[in-house]
Amino acid sequence: MIFYNKKNKYLSIFLFLLPSVLGLIVFGILPMLGSLTLSFSEWDIISGPPKLIGLDNFINILKGNEFWRVLNNTLYYIILYIPLILISSLSLALLLNNKFKGIKIYRTLYYIPVITSWVAGSLIWKIVLNPQFGVLNNLLNFIGLQGPGWLYDQTWAMPGIVLASIWKDVGFFGLILFSGLRGISPTYYEAAEIDGANSWQRFKNITLPLISPTLLFVIIISLINSFQLFPQVMIMTQGGPNGATQVMVERIYKYAFQYYKMGYASAFSWLLFIIVFVVTLLQMKLQKRWVHYES
């Protein structure tokens, strides 16, 4: 370790840490404690100070239908989104992992939706998904299929949001998996080729195990993101039709900043935290069964 002049050292530490630690305290730790307190309180922001009501917020949330409907909506999203994003981003990564001329141009193109803001992306998809005047149903029509009402239909609104999310995220996860693929030493494939393994065997026995840590990363991140859906819903459906796309963050936002139920919204946000935490923990536990780490 470096030898410093003592007086100088502590002054430097103080000054260099000041902005960041001040931020940590004021916008990190204090709000955590505040949010916890609020979740046990009732407060409409206008009248008086928050009133402590114990576990009432949590009990009311868990007793009502809404929370379970919201969870159900989120699960519907996850069941569609996770397999689709895994398959599509892995396929994209495998495709990009070839040596062809102009591949960089394709990589650049696939990444454009990623740099597009969620608000703009959602607006675009709202219009793409329009049942009558949108591109998607007209394309379906072209191949002889009758497209659904998408965002106007209780069953099809969430799949519509999933499609938009796949479009937005596939370039991101595809490139992450692509860098995972590039990390696999070619000697494995050469050895397999000598042993006469066909391409499916090579994929199953070499690629998949060796890329499993990256796959785990993709699954964890996309699951966390799934519980935090927000702009898509706000822009495309506002939680509708008939509550079919209401999700946790959208509820938290509306309870806090439209209905001014600060305590109730805070309790909701802690439930979100607990769910995300448990799901991530579960993933870390389950990984031992399928994730392969090179020693």
Binding site: M1, I2, Y4, N5, K9, Y10, S12, I13, F16, L17, P19, S20, V21, L22, G23, L24, F27, G28, L30, P31, M32, G34, L95, N98, I103, Y106, Y111, I115, S117, V119, A120, L123, I124, W125, K126, I127, V128, Q132, F133, V135, N138, G171, L175, I176, S179, F217, I221, Q228, P231, M234, I235, M248, V249, I252, Y253, A256, F257, A265, S269, V276
Partner: protein, 275 residues
Amino acid sequence: MNHNKLKSGIIFYSLATIIAIFMLLPFFWMISTSLKNSGAVMTIPIKWIPENPNLDAYKRVFNIFPFARAIFNSVFVAVVTTLITVLSSAMAAYIFAKFEFKGREVLFSLYLATLMIPKQVTMIPNFLIIREIRLLNTFTGLMLPSLFNAFATFMLRQNIKTVPDSYIEAAIMEGSSQFKIFKDIVLPLIKPTLATLTVITFMEAWNRYLWPLIVLTDRSKMTLPVGLSLLNGQYGEQYNLLMAGSLISIIPMLMVYIFAQKYFEKGLSVGGIKG
């Protein structure tokens, strides 16, 4: 030419092109819609290429909404937020990487612990704090929380650790101040990480939606995502307007992407961790 190679080449290019079309079709539809008249947006069968392409929607979007102002606000907020985040995090990271003091590990684990907490948990109290210090509806209030960024601090600390102690020691011997060492030795040595972080932070700040939606209420203060969502609320059925607005909001980011592509791809593998 090898027959097999030709075959796989054809398969590759057709697949890659089909995917590219799928990815770009929505953008094409956006541009096409933005060039149509309000009436032409809703015709069946749909017109891929507008019959009378015109810029009416663009003119209207600037007229009915302070759109030029929103562009300026977005640029300003994204640039300053990035500066604040990177500078404040780099300063803290330097201390965590190169100074020993009591409680360092505890403090740093607090940083890491906050990474697990979803932003939505701290969002409500953060709003109340900004309200309490009378900074609602100001850019200062919007950007102040960026002083603290656990992810950026972590990433920079890892990088500053690789700077040899001897460089810093030599500079101390010569009587350089810590500020000078930080500016002239540490920062230049971690330039690639700084660039990557700058790009990720800029993109995040540019696209941020929920926090500005809460903090900014004045139309003249709005950033592009908030402005677009307001436009969506008021003119939700006027597709040409919405698409003109969307296109305008995408172009600046697209330009940054084209010029700094290498850093986007570098930031990717680490950027995902934030969630």
